[in-house]
């Protein structure tokens, strides 16, 4: 009987493990889906058009709607970066990088400052007038101001 029970429960444990892993994976995915934009607290906007976000992060625009100078900053990689690039720039991270390399190597623009971690990006945004960046929803945003993308 004991033997039979263990054979029955083993697939149950496996199923539980798969379920747990799926949940964790979904959690990561959900976190990545929830990218939010943050700006330096001195920037006088609380909303931003999606087309302006695209233009600022591709170097076409250098100013916010209130006329102040925009300093885009990016993450070097990670789920938040991938979601940002795919959703707001319609590109893959490689194409996004290539586009900025083109700007730098043709003299048409400077690459945005890139950060390895969200905490480093948030610190820079908090300290730099005009800075705008993006992080996952669960990063603390105490010293920066969130801006809401609008269609």
């Amino acid at each position: 009987l004991r033997r039979d029970t263990s054979e029955v429960t083993r697939p149950g444990k496996t199923r539980l493990l798969i379920l747990l892993l799926s949940f964790l994976n979904c959690g990561g995915f959900a976190a990545a889906q929830n990218v939010i934009f943050v700006v330096n607290k001195d920037v006088g906007i609380s909303e931003i058009k999606a087309s302006d976000l695209h233009a600022i992060f591709t170097g076409e625009k250098t100013r916010f709607a209130d006329g102040s100078h925009a300093v885009p900053v990016v993450l070097r990689g990670g789920p938040a970066h991938e979601v940002f690039v795919e959703r707001y720039c319609d590109e893959t991270p490689a194409e996004f990088r290539a586009q900025w390399r083109k700007a730098a190597f043709t003299g048409q623009g400077n690459m945005p400052r890139a950060f390895d971690s969200e905490s480093a990006l948030l610190r820079y945004v908090a300290e730099t007038p005009g800075a705008i960046g993006y992080v996952s929803r669960f990063s603390p945003q105490d010293n920066v101001k969130p801006v809401i993308p609008q269609k």
Binding site: S51, E60, K61, T92, A94, K102, T106, G107, N110
Partner: protein, 378 residues
Amino acid sequence: MIGHARLFSFLLVFAGVACAQDLSGIEIHGFATQGFLFSSNNNYLTAQSSSGSLQWTDGAVSISDSLSDSLRVGIQLHMYQLGQLGGPNIQVDWALGDYRINDHLGFRAGKVKTIVGLFNDSQDIDAIFLWALLPQSCYPIDNEGFYLSHTGGDLYGYLPLGNHHGSLRYDGYLGEDYLPLDGGYVKQLADAGLQLTNEPAGRNYGGDLRWETPLRGLLLGYSPMVMGLDGASPGGALHVPSFLMTAQYAQFARGKFYFAFEYDKVPVSEFLTIGPQTAIFPLDTRSWYGMGQYRFTKKIQGGSYYSHYVNKAMNTSLPENYSKDWVVSGRYDFNSYFYAKLEGHFLHGTGLGYYASTNPNGLKPNSNILAAKIGFSF
């Protein structure tokens, strides 16, 4: 004494901080590539490609700094060797000051990359392309130094057209361009008997207008450019009266897909004087390409293009007056810095990329070419 030491220390620290702040905005980027060419027939691009050639090296370093929110300065130094073209000399690729009054209007002055078609200004930046060789009908690598940049000024800007009409980007320029002595055209002239000692130069002006359409990822554009050239040497002269070249293009980029099409037209007559004789070489070139590429994974990209060139001023049935190239290419990115490319060309016609001096026994009309490259960029 202690006060002086404190002041000295303070000045040192202050100078250090000030210096660090000044330098913190400086951006330094660079790339280096090494290529390999192998052709089944003929020697391609002045390299001994029929026996396999590694004479294909390229590198650049750029330094730029934002002096203020509106003002940026920078310079890029470039060196390349392709077969007998280029050489060890380091050249200034571009060196400019860029003053952007607002998003709608900015100025660039100095030696500025010339925007013509989709890739003219970026054709020498290998790292950003899937292709080892861009479509040679529109971007011949043996002459990439010709109208790659101009010495003069640009006026540029970005104009949003509202929520449902996309946006416009424009660039207009006036300057002087030159034919590099280590480039392909000058080598062809040398093969024809005219050894130029000074770079032929002339005024050029033109512009580029591109519309980012409301259809996400679709870009349409038009670039006209007017230029002429004059050059002389003890043995003769080259005179190219002003001509208008035009490029029309479309690009669709969304997610992992990328498609592009471009059509260029160059009607021009070259007056070549060697000794007492002057010969006219009429050209009416029509060049176009269509390309498609797809990113399979983060590291692997593949694609294909067809590149077509024909000189309508001559007998278009002769191989020397056309070039038709089917290309298949793949790229592997080891990481965000290192990459490798492998590319096959199925080339019909000898109108582009071949030189008499490196093919002394004449040319066969068709050739298959393998191009491979490794590169590094930061």
